[in-house]
Subunit: 132 residues, 4 copies
């Protein structure tokens, strides 16, 4: 499944200072994260097995204020697979100039029905590798 997250910045995305608000950026990242995940992984199957994605850390750099009217592109790729966690690298770029407006490292774990983070091995690891 191909997908592309493009967002035209509207007045309601911006705050008083005329910039896209910090919290709104997290929604843009979240939108593309789900689109990326579902383009690579059968999330329905995962849910059926009681597996849940749980974000445990977000580290976001706000690099450039984005004016209303600009179109943004959001990207997601796999950064690192740890023992029990995975790091995604996400970027928000100006469609016109390609300049980075914000980037983020998103660390998540996958919890099973007991709420414990599962180890990245075997079939699970193979699935996560698809996120590259």
């Amino acid at each position: 499944m191909e997908y592309k997250t493009e967002i035209k910045v509207r007045g309601y995305h911006a705050d008083f200072y005329g910039h896209v608000n910090n919290a709104r950026y997290l929604e843009f990242f979240e939108e593309d994260r789900w689109a990326h995940l579902e383009s690579k992984i059968d999330l329905r199957k995962w849910a059926g097995m009681g597996l849940t994605f749980l974000v445990v850390n977000i580290n976001v750099n706000y690099r450039r204020a984005v004016p209303v009217g600009e179109t943004l592109v959001v990207t997601t790729r796999l950064e690192k697979i740890g023992n029990r966690s995975v790091v995604l690298k996400q970027e928000i770029l100006s469609k016109e100039s390609g300049e980075t407006a914000a980037d983020a490292l998103i660390t998540f774990v996958i919890t099973d029905r007991s709420g414990r983070a599962v180890t990245m091995e075997g079939e699970m690891l193979a699935e996560i590798e698809k996120l590259r």
Copy 2:
């Protein structure tokens, strides 16, 4: 239970035009609606009986643009009890001047476990009367 919903308008509440955004007002109304409901009604008991509040119509007038820094007060009172629906009147006022920034009529029904709207009679009606 006494409560009061006061909100100091921050930069992140306002949009590009420096006004509190239309969608944000609905959150201010929702905040006070829940505070009002739980101050009058045992919502836990209702949930235990499978009863759910379902908003079916919101009719909101935006009367005055509110600048960042102003403090708003939100109020809720019972407007009308219909056969199977209830109307609340909500207002957002400037704390300083008392001027109305927005007002709304909120129509909701109460659904049972089958998803059907229950009739406002007997014990249910008595509970809803408390919302005055």
Copy 3:
């Protein structure tokens, strides 16, 4: 300019009850409203003349709860031109079934630099007629 507002409902759009939240629907309507306006009208020119769209009333019916995973289509058309106000009719439909999830009448005025609502006549009326 052709455009189409399609939104795949994500977990972050839904609230605790698993439905798209009331306030979030207003953002979906707002998204399509701006797309519709800018596809028909030169908003930059309007802004240069000091003309601003100001929503004065939103009357929204919530008709059907929308589950996460469904794709929604938002539409906007001109409903009525008044003396100093304009009414748009907006709908949010299920892409799959075509069923209406929510619809709304949005009343706006156009204010000039003095903050007064302008009369719908002459060139202004011709521009607004394009919104059909």
Copy 4:
């Protein structure tokens, strides 16, 4: 000026998974950040001098899922003063248990009218020290 940011978690704060959404947490942090800043610093005077707070990094740990109905307390304190940047430490705690739901390091700079980050020295430094 004394202040305290307490937030009762409502259904509209939570997402499909019944947790307070990641982006919503940033709004809770932002609310307390502004309350803290304006309790210590004359923001109006700063604005008059053309000085603006600009968040450049947010690093947030999501430590515990918060159920609807719980009351949260948000706190802010000065963590570190750098050469041209300042780090605040913010926490979101359960009011009942005192457990941490989320914590964050927020790095901001102060920009002047030219958009450049000012150096933390002299009067500026003295003002920022008040944020402890």
